[in-house]
């Protein structure tokens, strides 16, 4: 299975190729295909206004248009656009990914809430979806970002590593730790409950 190639939409690359040769219609289609993904990812990165994210998306697309004669076709168009958006956002905010710090530092869970606090918050939720959302929100930001990129945006771990400016293994470690934590919260009570129920 390892060698089965990741099947990126071929349609994207055709559109991209047409856009590079100056076809505005294809460019527009790419915009329409990915604007929602870019917007949701962008707004999840920053707490500033939505207008700021929209401005950044504007910059990404206008820059693509300006540079189209010098661009090549990316393997994964969606990854390319999300990465470009993040770069633009970080550039404007004057921030750098803290890639030079070891992951263990960056990811150090100083503010980890205790289980009792989480339980209290969970109590106020009235759906499973709400409860799961609360649990995920307890994770460090970078772990949450990695979860979104892997399980919603469907980027592979190499791409996630590039977005987070760490190597592939570190990207996996981020998700691994998030999963272990979530499993402790979700599955174990679930199994306990299950056993009691069946016994």
């Amino acid at each position: 299975m390892k060698d089965v190639e990741n099947s990126y939409p071929k349609e994207d690359q055709k559109l991209w190729l047409a856009f590079l040769s100056g076809d505005e219609e294809s460019y527009t289609q790419l915009y329409k295909l990915y604007i929602r993904h870019m917007y949701r990812y962008g707004t999840s990165l920053v707490t500033t206004s939505d207008a700021f994210v929209l401005d950044c998306i504007h910059d990404v697309f206008t820059e693509l248009w300006a540079k189209r004669s010098r661009l090549s076709v990316p393997d994964n168009v969606k990854y390319y656009l999300l990465k470009a958006l993040k770069t633009r956002i970080m550039h404007l905010l004057g921030r750098k990914e803290r890639s030079f710090k070891p992951l263990s530092d960056v990811d150090f869970e100083i503010f980890e809430p205790n289980d009792l606090e989480i339980l209290e918050e969970l109590d106020s939720a009235n759906s499973r979806q709400e409860r799961l959302k609360i649990l995920i929100a307890q994770l460090p930001n970078r772990q949450q970002e990695a979860l979104k990129l892997r399980f919603i945006e469907n980027l592979n771990y190499t791409e996630i590593g590039n977005v987070l400016e760490v190597n592939t293994q570190s990207a996996k470690n981020l998700v691994f730790r998030a999963i272990e934590k979530l499993r402790g919260w979700i599955v174990l009570p679930f199994i306990n409950f299950f056993y009691i129920f069946l016994a």
């Binding site: 299975m1 390892k2 089965v4 990741n6 099947s7 505005e24 527009t28 915009y31 329409k32 604007i35 929602r36 917007y39 949701r40 707004t43 999840s44 206004s49 929209l54 998306i57 504007h58 697309f61 206008t62 248009w65 300006a66 499973r128 979806q129 799961l132 959302k133 649990l135 995920i136 979860l147 979104k148 892997r150 399980f151 919603i152 469907n154 592979n156 771990y157 996996k172 998700v175 691994f176 999963i179 272990e180 979530l182 499993r183 979700i186 599955v187």
Partner: protein, 365 residues
Amino acid sequence: MKTVYSGYTSSDFLTDDSFIGHQLLPTKTSHDFWQAWLETKPENRGEWEQAVFLLDAIRLGLNDYASTYLPETVIAELLEKIKLTNSGQKETRNLKVNFRWLAAASIVIALVAGSMLWKRSGVSSDYQAHVSGLESAFTEKVNTTSKTQLIHLPDGSTAELLPNSKISYAHDFNTTNRRVFLSGEASFEVVKNVRKPFLVYANKVVTKVLGTKFIVRAYETETDVKVNVQSGQVSVYRESADDTKIGKTLHNGLLLLPNQQAVFSRKSEEFSKTLVEEPEILTLPAADKPVFVYDEISISKVFEDIEKAYGITIRYNKESLEGCQLSASLNHESFDEKLEIICKTVKATYQKFDGQIIINGGSCE
């Protein structure tokens, strides 16, 4: 059969691109692979199932993220803006070609000048044209903050100016008439003065009032201009070269009543009349205010109350709804909720058309 996945825990599966890829977007190849793998009855099948379970849980927990809402209008507006910028680039490129024989330094200057020209002519044209056309001294208020700003006009009227919006008026405001120029969005509360109409110029649309409360939304970057009435009456026109005609005729214009909204498409230069998104009950004398509590009251009386409270005409088939009654209290419901409840009761549907409500079908058997 490959044994690469033997000994994998659920967390291991969830850090494997092939596993996740299959769960999110299965292909024939991936389906066949995992099917075959499961048929070997691997001892860690439980972990595999737990991984599937966890993946679903994570996706459910991220559902709010996945379904982040972005309105179509915003998408269209941003695309417009992007294309505008792109066409600006074309201009600067042409400049580069024309001036190729010049020294490098001159090219830089030319490009800067070109982009400045572009900004002046393209981006803030309409408002700029008006303001530069003013003869006498004028006052300009620009809201660069992130909050709404209250502007007091010389005649006692007020304007709540939204962020990134500006308003200006000439020195002689309030002598013959009351004219303001707007770029962006503002909500006006106008002091009544029948002899001096209050005029708002915004992106080719003129809104004329005598005294009322209304909102004009006209950003340079947006394709539509919206005028939205909260009380009183407002007329909107397409701006014509001849100023004296304003107010003399309703030609190319609309009369707006409360809870109605005019949308002017800058592209087609046409107006359409709609209802505001959330109609509100008008300020009426207490005696005229319906209470919206009904006990076996005829539907036509209920519609009459709604029409009176919101100033919105409701058209329905009087014959087919004759004898229909309603028992409900609708005093906490919004305009749309009220209509939904009524329509459900009489098995009808409603639609909004030209600033009115049309009730389709309905019977009370």
